[in-house]
């Protein structure tokens, strides 16, 4: 494969700006095409997808702000594809890949990647990754915290040709269609992903026509270099030093003990070393994190703690060294299962942010929820009668900071997945959502309060359904931490009520069958507080009280205990 780079071309500053802005806007436009033509609520309502543009060697050069977990990872898929297909790549091809040990994150995130050729040379790639609700496997919704091997996590695809020279590849399409539970949505969304890539390809071709290929390629190089310079400058502006922090997963996914995540940061001049080797060995369950996702977590934390407004690409990786031996749960050996890796990623992101807060106290923030409640519920659409799987994610409170209170009921850290509208959920799945409300008293107090967690109740309708549910941060020893003297948020809680309304005890990660009339209740954690509670202004406190944010009043229609004792922080702390 002959690849071209932009070495040696002079690039006027204004042209560079025009090209880089146009590539960014191409990524935004790709996202619009995917979202607006998708068939799956997880894509069209919850925005669990990302789009980007890559240089010919696979380095990510332009992205819009989609899901940090996906953006930080995608270039490894492209690099793997280049390694695998080399000179066989042809114009009009579109590759499909999801192999967690070949650069991808977990099997439900399907990557579709297209090459961009100009004058017979490969000059760039456009790519999308989207969470598909089900890619087969033993569980509806594919994911399962207790799965033990990647082979159980549905269809595993190294980079294969979904399209060959502009035509759909029937072999791959029929393999996918036979392996997944809702082939109609999966195939439609794959076509939408490829259409999004095509839009990106045309935008790049147009730019080359306007500015010439050499300038376009020089712009790719300069985009990476300028991000590298910006990150180095941001790092250089911060004090040198070393810090560490630890965080714990509630368990190993199969009911085992808490698992340690450890991060040590060493910042010297304009470089940063991130040492994760103090983390626990890989797990028997599916909370392991493939390398792409570990790298994405570090990239996310670095941007958030330096300059969140800075546009990024793979240039951010250059001043960064990540140390994590093979066999650690953040860099597992195959065939360890990884489908629920995102819960671990969130805990890792929180640990990195806390370590950075130690290193740079003026940037300290309280912790956000990492409960990341996820649910895959086998279902039938009341409107179309077709069987499907409902995938749901519920956010919670974010941490308070020196400038103000945290946010209520949102996704946190490396994800920014939306809450499914009730009117969408009930139209597409045989479920009724009985309530979605803030949980008073769930946030850490302080001069600034954390954001409140969410309570959402799901009632299964019509027929028994298999469900996989998982929530982190249910262990009261590991709640969202306060900062600068602020209090901790409350832990999260997963509850189940039978058709008769009687509570049934459930573990925080479980696959089971629910009878019609059963109610699943998730209560996510609130964010940590910031600063001493005695410093909170009286007006703010009065408003909190009037708005019922502080404590839960007893509810007449509450079918479970309304009050919970707040747990005192114990066990986990930032180590110095």
């Amino acid at each position: 494969m002959s690849r071209r780079t932009g070495a040696g071309t002079r690039l006027p500053a204004v042209t560079f700006e025009l090209i880089s802005a146009a590539l960014h806007s191409a990524a935004v436009e790709m996202g619009g095409v995917l979202k607006h033509s998708s068939y799956s609520p997880i894509i069209r309502e919850m925005d669990d997808f990302s789009c980007a543009v890559f240089r010919s060697d696979g380095d990510l050069v332009a992205q819009a702000d989609f899901i940090p977990a996906q953006l930080g990872a995608m270039s490894l898929v492209v690099k793997n594809l280049i390694e695998r297909w080399g000179d066989a790549v042809e114009p009009g091809d579109a590759y499909l890949a999801n192999h967690p040990y070949m650069g991808a994150m977990h099997t439900p995130d399907l990557n579709v990647i297209m090459p961009v050729f100009l004058g017979g040379h490969l000059v760039a790639w456009t790519g999308t990754t989207a969470h598909h609700i089900d890619v087969g496997g033993v569980r509806p919704g594919t994911e399962g915290p207790d799965l033990r091997e990647v082979y159980a996590e549905g269809l595993v695809l190294p980079p294969v040709r979904l399209y060959r020279a502009g035509r759909e590849n029937p072999d791959v399409v029929s393999i996918v269609a036979a392996a997944v539970r809702d082939p109609r949505s999966t195939l439609s969304d794959l076509r939408a992903q490829r259409a999004a890539c095509l839009i990106g390809v045309s935008r790049i071709e147009e730019l080359a026509a306007r500015y010439g290929t050499p300038r376009l390629l020089a712009a790719f190089d300069e985009m990476l270099d300028s991000v590298e310079r910006a990150v180095r400058a941001a790092l250089a502006a911060l004090p040198d030093g070393e810090s560490e922090a630890e965080g714990f997963l509630d368990d190993d996914g199969t009911g085992g003990p808490p698992q340690r995540i450890h991060a040590r940061l060493v910042k010297t001049g304009d470089e940063l070393l991130v040492d994760l080797s103090g983390t626990a060995p890989q797990l028997s369950g599916a909370l392991n994190v493939p390398w792409a996702s570990t790298r994405a977590a570090v990239v996310y934390a670095l941007r958030a703690m330096t300059d969140p407004s800075m546009a990024t690409n793979d240039g951010i990786l250059r001043p960064l060294e990540i140390v994590c031996p093979r066999g650690v749960l953040l860099n597992p050996e195959p065939p360890a299962a990884v489908s629920v890796r995102h819960n671990t990623c969130q805990r890792l992101a929180d640990t990195l942010v806390r370590a950075a807060s130690e290193l740079w106290p003026h940037k300290a923030v309280a912790s956000s929820t990492v409960a990341f409640f996820g649910m895959n519920l086998e279902s039938v659409s009341p409107r179309s009668g077709l069987s499907s799987v409902m995938a749901e994610v519920v956010g919670g409170g974010t941490g308070a900071h020196a400038g103000g209170d945290g946010l209520d009921g949102v996704d946190t850290y490396m994800a920014n997945v939306g809450l499914m509208p009730v009117e969408v959920a009930e139209s597409d799945y045989s479920v009724r959502i009985l309530r979605t409300e803030l949980i008073p008293g769930s946030a850490g107090t302080g001069e600034h309060h954390g954001g409140l967690g969410l309570r959402r109740d799901y009632q299964v309708l019509e027929r028994p359904a298999t469900v996989t549910m998982y929530s982190e941060q249910t262990d009261p020893r590991f709640p969202p931490r306060g900062a600068a003297g602020g209090g901790d948020g409350a832990p999260s809680r997963l509850r189940l009520f039978g058709p008769d309304g009687v509570e049934v005890p459930v573990p925080s990660k479980v696959t089971m069958t629910l009878e019609p009339g059963s109610v699943v209740r998730i209560e996510t954690s609130g964010g940590g507080g910031y600063g001493a509670p005695t410093r909170r202004p009286v007006v703010a406190e009065e408003a909190d009280r009037a708005d019922g944010r502080l404590e839960a009043p007893p509810r007449s229609n509450d079918d479970g205990p309304a009050h919970r004792r707040r747990q005192r922080p114990r066990g986990e702390r930032a180590a110095r």
């Binding site: 068939y39 958030a304 946010l407 949102v410 969408v424 979605t436």
Partner: protein, 684 residues
């Protein structure tokens, strides 16, 4: 329009209120008065009185067009009426968790978004519909009474009712709203499904809450404006500009208060569109910069782009709106030096009161206008709108203070303020052009508003637009744009079902009967004789998708409806690059828009130059330091009123007129055409 009759327009900006009257014969009268933000109706009346003094017989005003910022200001400053929100039980917090995402993905220190309704003012009602529209829990009389009591006890200024699935069946919303109206007397009650019959509870609830919060504010204002018209003896009807770029009679405007959020800015875009039609130019960028803010809109095919959802102050509002970018950069934007020594300009503005220090009305902070006065690009000693003179000493004092804080000389500080402000304008322009992959080179920048022409030359150089067009009355251009608008009525009906042959007669029937109703309403609203232009469309999608594409239906017939699936597939292919041969097409919403043509006035041009040259319009030479320049140079000042069609001159130059000042840079040239517009281009 009969001879002797006038079309009148009043456009309220953050700093000035402008008025224009155009006669059937083409004569134009103009007025400009300072805005009165605490009660905009005062300036509204003042502007009309000023027109009368300029020679307008107020009794001969046929229609009074009005672009108002009363809704926008209330929204941006958080001065909405206190709303109580009534929701389905279990969902009172929907305005807190919104759509569950963070506005900024990476910022760990972002502020908590403001809430439209305080948590203490949310009341939940026991009622429930299913996703197929069946009643799961009926809304009982006892529950209605309980909720009404709870709401009344909170003494709201307005109420919003938003129940789940009301877009399928709104009878619970209606029952609740009627009971609330009976109990609360004149308190407005917004119903979500009436305002936006669309699914997804968060944006629909937010729309209802915004509508409720605005109605008392807008209602009070319109009552005041209408009574002032009566007092002045104006019999012409008051027409209010909406966010979609069309007008409605004032009597209907407060019920649709959420549709006024872009009323002011839409007027300027309407002016740009009308100007484009006059010149036959399709690609324009509307650059409307007043004292407080800058509104930018890219007009690509002679029509302003519409977006189905407008987001203001972080809240989604479901109503078709002109798609534009607004930033807080105006002549009155205040310059501040932060703790780290960084200079920022805006979004805080000195507004109408006190205004820039140079206006001599007690302004104590340095503004962009003050910086120009210091640089000399806004020369003192020439008369300005509203009888203002410019106070150089006052400007030097406030800008000098900024310089001291930064360790810069007076003129360096002034230059810095202008450059920071221009960089912000440049970013706003990039967002509508470069960032959408559009090269400004093929576009004409239409610069207006009191401060637009002063910065247009700088942006021409920075972003390389094809050219700049400064209309004849830049400070009054938005007001003049109002005069060229049409009445607009939008009706819609939710269908939400796969298209079948059996449905066609009913759908065609709705289109025809609605067309009749709209015609009757337009006749009632003052459009008679000439037939209204009707545009029908259907929002379609494949079953399973969540977003729709609008497919045109023409004519309003069953045959045209039957073609929808094929037309949709073609549009899907064009828009997204693929189609689904096995997909079933469903119709989500049927829409009918009607445009009632209002009388148009002919605007007079300027006389030809003959043998005279532009130097005949040169009034003086002033000393000024151009932004980015190193020292002062002598710059000729032209009187815009004395410039004739065909005059040409080179920059650097300053063109002075009553309502705006135009700056032409060194290396740029300017010419005047027969309509009196000033064109600026780079000399290449």
């Amino acid at each position: 329009m009969r001879p002797g009759r006038f079309l009148v327009a009043v456009d309220v900006g953050g700093t000035f209120t402008d008025a224009v009257a155009v006669s059937a014969a083409g004569g134009t009268l103009v007025a400009k008065v300072p805005s009165t933000p605490e009660d905009p109706a005062i300036a509204f009346e003042e502007a009309l009185a000023e027109l009368e003094r300029a020679g307008l017989p107020l009794g001969s005003a046929h229609l009074v067009f009005h672009g108002t910022t009363v809704a926008t200001n209330a929204m941006l400053t958080g001065r909405l009426a206190r709303v109580v929100l009534v929701t389905t039980e279990g969902f009172g917090d929907v305005l807190s968790y919104r759509n569950g995402t963070r506005p900024s993905v990476y910022d760990l220190q972002q502020p908590r978004p403001g809430e439209l309704v305080a948590r203490r003012d949310r009341v939940e009602a026991r009622e429930r519909l299913s996703s197929t529209g069946e009643i799961v829990t009926a809304l009982s009389e006892a529950e209605i009474a309980r909720v009404v009591d709870e709401v009344a006890a909170r003494r709201p200024e307005a109420v919003a009712v938003a129940f789940l699935f009301s877009y399928l069946d709104d009878r619970h919303e209606e029952q609740m709203a009627e009971a609330l109206e009976r109990r609360l007397g004149g308190v407005p009650v917004a119903r979500s499904a009436r305002l936006a019959r669309e699914f997804r509870e968060y944006p629909r609830t937010a729309t209802a809450a915004v509508n409720a919060g605005l109605r008392p504010v807008v209602g009070r204002y319109l009552v005041s404006a209408t009574s002032r018209l009566e007092r002045l003896g104006v019999s012409g009807r008051l027409m209010i500009m909406q966010s979609n770029g069309g007008c409605v009679p004032a009597a209907r405007a407060d019920e649709e208060a959420h549709r006024l959020l872009l009323s002011g800015p839409a007027a300027g875009v309407a002016g740009t569109v009308a100007l484009g039609q006059e010149y036959g130019i399709e690609r324009l960028v509307s650059f409307d910069m007043g004292g407080t803010s800058l509104d930018v809109c890219l007009v690509a095919h002679g029509t302003p782009p519409l977006t189905p959802t407008e987001t203001i102050a972080g809240h989604p509002i479901l109503c078709p709106s002109v798609d534009m970018v607004t930033i807080g950069a105006g002549g009155g934007s205040i310059a501040e030096v932060g703790p780290t020594g960084r200079l920022s300009v805006g979004p805080r503005s000195a507004g109408a009161q006190p205004g820039p220090a140079a206006y001599g009305r007690g302004g104590e902070e340095a503004t962009v206008t003050d910086a120009h006065v210091v640089l000399g690009t806004l020369p003192t000693g020439l008369s300005l709108a509203g009888g203002l003179g410019l106070d150089l000493e006052a400007a030097r004092k406030v800008v000098g203070r900024v310089g001291e804080e930064m360790g810069l000389s007076l003129e360096e500080a002034a230059d810095g303020i202008v450059q920071v402000s221009v960089a912000q304008m440049s970013l706003a322009l990039r967002r509508v052009s470069v960032e959408r992959g559009i090269d400004p080179e093929g576009y004409t920048l239409v610069a207006f508003g009191g401060a637009g022409p002063l910065h247009a030359g700088l942006l021409l150089r920075e972003l390389r637009f094809g050219s700049v067009l400064v209309p004849r009355y830049p400070g009054l251009f938005a007001a003049a744009g109002l005069v060229s608008t049409d009445l607009r009525v939008d009706e819609s009906r939710t269908v939400l079902a796969p298209l079948t042959e059996e449905m066609l007669p009913a759908l065609a029937g709705w289109l025809r009967s609605t067309a009749e109703e709209i015609r009757a309403r337009l006749a009632d609203d003052g459009v008679s004789g000439r037939p209204a232009r009707l545009v029908a469309s259907a929002d379609c999608r494949y079953v399973g998708q969540g977003y729709e594409l609008a497919v045109q239906i023409s004519p309003l017939s069953e045959a045209a409806l039957a073609e929808l699936p094929e037309r949709f597939a073609e549009l899907h292919q064009r828009t997204y690059g693929h189609r689904d041969p096995e997909g079933t097409v469903e119709v989500v919403t049927l829409r009918l828009s009607a445009f009632g043509a209002l009388p148009k006035a002919r605007q007079e041009g300027v006389s030809p130059a003959g043998r005279s040259t532009a130097s005949s319009a040169m009034v003086t030479t002033t000393s000024a330091r151009l932004p980015g320049g190193a020292h002062r140079v002598g710059i000729p000042v032209y009187d815009r009123a004395a410039l004739r069609s065909g005059h040409r001159f080179d920059g650097p130059a300053i063109v002075h007129q009553h309502d705006a000042t135009t700056l032409v840079l060194d290396g740029q040239s300017a010419r005047v055409d027969r309509r009196g517009s000033l064109w600026i281009e780079e000399v290449r």
